[in-house]
Symmetry: C4
């Protein structure tokens, strides 16, 4: 299949709650993800910049989305150049060297039960 999507994607609404369901394992810990698909035949080199309310952007974070693969990247696990702070408003911009499609999802398990939100990111 030919490459499909865009090279730059934006999400203004980032926030990772520091609390989760008591005893929650990895799947149910409060988290946020950038879900990417690279339907083309060349690996995608992806760079992620994180924007804040009151200081300069941090990044780039670098990941590869292999050809014909998806990557659901949890922000909770980003460490280099810096961990993403919890309980903090942020936003992000993803740049890829080949077309990809990006969707944003948050799972919030601060209270009993789960809450989910998701949207296709904005192709800029």
């Amino acid at each position: 299949m030919s490459p499909l999507g865009h090279l730059r994607w934006v999400i203004p609404e980032g926030f990772i709650p520091s609390e989760s369901l008591p005893g929650a394992g990895r799947p149910l810990i409060s988290h946020e993800a950038a879900c990417m698909i690279n339907a083309g035949d060349r690996d995608a080199r992806v760079e992620l910049m994180i924007y804040f309310t009151d200081r300069e952007p941090v990044g780039p974070y670098r990941v590869t989305v292999a050809a014909r693969r998806t990557l659901h990247l949890r922000f909770n696990k980003l460490k280099d150049p810096a961990a993403v702070p919890l309980d903090t408003d942020y936003a992000w911009v993803i740049t890829s060297d080949v077309p990809i499609v990006v969707q944003h999802t948050r799972l919030d398990s601060r209270c009993s039960g789960l809450a989910l939100l998701s949207t296709i990111a904005f192709p800029a």
Copy 2:
């Protein structure tokens, strides 16, 4: 009404939880759906490819969305060429031979209560 929509639609964020509310019947079992509308006067032959994190894509899955009809296709029921694995990150691309519109919805009933997410898919 004239056909409306696009021929190719993408969702990067697929995931079907294996757990559900105890005793949940079909409506409340954790599931994921591609909801399609074909507002035109010709049946839509639709092909679905599923992408994974660590192996080659699987498909095509084939369904028909009849003229002037909607189809809310649950991924849980796809069997040919292979069932969609649970608790596994995936992504999907839908291709139709006539214009359709596609929306992605997940119902997650792993914990007490429900969580829902939904977004119009990305028209590629």
Copy 3:
């Protein structure tokens, strides 16, 4: 402000649960809404067609969104030409004679607590 938006909007994923929280009043009854804004200076005459899985579309339903007003139209209250069936997959297409913007929201209170989903409709 000049008119803004599109003349035709599509949502493939309609479903109104028949159950709600015990004792729920109007705000918390399970429902689905097409939320419309008409930012222009002429009233919008809006027609809504509802599509089903296994029978011909029903409509048009007609509403007016006045100039410089919003209307959050609950599908539960549509009666003419026919009520929207509960627990039934459907889809909808909205046509307006002046530009509007449309967003789809569902509140599901079948289980303890609430679940919400929302997306901007697809501008066709």
Copy 4:
């Protein structure tokens, strides 16, 4: 990075529940937010108009999103020229003098647990 986004954004579906989880602190109080990112190098002067079902629009509300910053603006805190009424259907249009990207999120904690919805706003 060069500016990215649009100058005008629309959300038809505004609603702030007046009730929240008993004892909820700021993060868990029912609220609605317009999340904005200004990835460019010039501050964004942003104006927000709020539309209602049965009266003239109110505004403009004015905020600044600094260069290379995000702002998650809670509607609950808008006061000038008027507070946003609770339990009331509304809609909003944002206009910026430089490109930004806007996402809409609601947190509803009226019942036990949370419900979330989110979507990229409509770029008009």
